[in-house]
């Protein structure tokens, strides 16, 4: 009877050993998770606190010498092409229109600057994505076709320097003007390297 009792209700010492193993496994799991998450961010892996190591990156659109002026600068900018057409309507300094067989390209240049006071000599990866899908137009920056998923534009953008990027929008000739107008937003992301 005593043996059966012991089998159903283990000794206190056995309970302690089992719990200890579980706690130890959980702690190891926590350590692994923390290490993995941090290693995704810091090239150097473990070490300094993430915020201290990478600082705060700021994103700013600035005036471009090559492109048409943005109607506002800062981190939220507006680019107004005005009226454009296959026949070249709207062509002006900073705005190129290239006619193709089945479509035409509207092209301009954007300038932007990334800053990070904590890492003035560092760099960030620049990505961009469309805010909403647009089946009628094709958008690209520096030749990288954009979609609603983030696309890498430049792997290393140095903090403090102004970089210019070519923005192209392809407009099919077959789309009627009632549907051909462009209303879109591009979100840029800068992730510290």
């Amino acid at each position: 009877m005593a043996d059966r009792h012991q089998a159903r209700f283990p000794q206190p010492a056995a309970v302690c050993v089992s719990e200890f193993r579980l706690i130890r496994q959980i702690l190891v799991l926590m350590l692994l998770c923390a290490t993995h998450a941090r290693s995704q961010q810091l090239p150097g892996g473990l070490g300094r606190p993430l915020q201290q190591a990478q600082g705060t990156v700021s994103f700013t659109f600035v005036a471009s010498n090559r492109g048409i002026p943005l109607s506002s600068l800062g981190s939220q900018a507006q680019l107004q092409f005005g009226s454009v057409s296959y026949a070249g309507m709207g062509r002006r300094q900073g705005l190129e229109i290239a006619a193709g067989t089945t479509s035409f390209l509207v092209r301009t240049w954007l300038a932007l600057r990334l800053d990070n006071p904590a890492q003035p000599g560092g760099s960030a990866e620049l990505s961009a994505m469309l805010l909403s899908p647009d089946p009628d137009h094709t958008y690209s920056i520096d030749g990288v076709r954009l979609s609603t998923a983030s696309q890498r534009i430049q792997a290393h953008v140095s903090y403090g320097s102004v970089t210019e990027h070519r923005l192209e929008i392809e407009i099919p000739r077959s789309v009627p003007e009632s549907r051909a107008g462009v209303t879109q937003a591009i979100t840029f992301l800068a992730v510290p390297n």
Partner: protein, 175 residues
């Protein structure tokens, strides 16, 4: 002990999430883009294959049809235009191709207005069977693409000899 275990499990689950939340140290910028796309239409001339039409290389919206020397005794001109007599008229005929392309247009056809300059005498100009008047003749629905027209110059046999120079202005408008 059970409570401690549960707490540790919860911590283990939360820690990666917290670490990933920290990983979102990114800078964002947003560019709003707007453009109004306008429809456009382009008109160019093409040779009808008989060599009477010469397209201006620098500006294919302009062309010249030289019908050459003609008389009632001829069946073709010195520039290969067809020459006949019909109803008391000397009829000189030469085909040409008008190429009209529409971009971002709402329809597949356009309107063409042709206006002839004042006649030298009483001669008339026709596109096919339709007379092109000085006040303007309208072809309401023409499909985009290449359209072959037959230019007919009808000169009354009673009209005296001499050079005839006429100009036809063409205007294509999206429908």
């Amino acid at each position: 002990m059970k409570k401690l275990t549960l707490c540790l499990i919860a911590l283990a689950l939360l820690l990666p999430a917290a670490a990933l939340a920290q990983s979102g140290i990114t800078a964002n910028g947003q560019l709003t883009i707007t453009a109004n796309v306008q429809s456009s239409i382009a008109l160019t001339f093409k040779d009808g294959g008989q060599g009477t039409l010469t397209v201006n290389g620098a500006d294919p919206t302009q062309a010249t049809i030289a019908l050459g020397n003609v008389s009632g005794a001829m069946t073709s001109s010195s520039t290969n235009a067809t020459v006949t007599t019909s109803g008391g008229n000397l009829v000189i005929t030469s085909p040409f191709v008008l190429s009209v392309t529409g971009t971002n247009t709402p329809t597949t056809d356009y309107k063409l207005v042709a206006s002839a300059s004042a006649p030298v005498g009483t001669e008339k100009i026709f596109f096919g069977a339709t007379e092109i008047t000085t006040s303007g003749t309208t072809f309401n629905t023409v499909t985009y693409g290449d359209t072959t027209y037959s230019l007919n110059l009808q000169v009354p046999l009673s009209q005296g000899p001499g050079a005839i120079t006429r100009t036809v202005a063409l205007t294509a408008t999206t429908n």
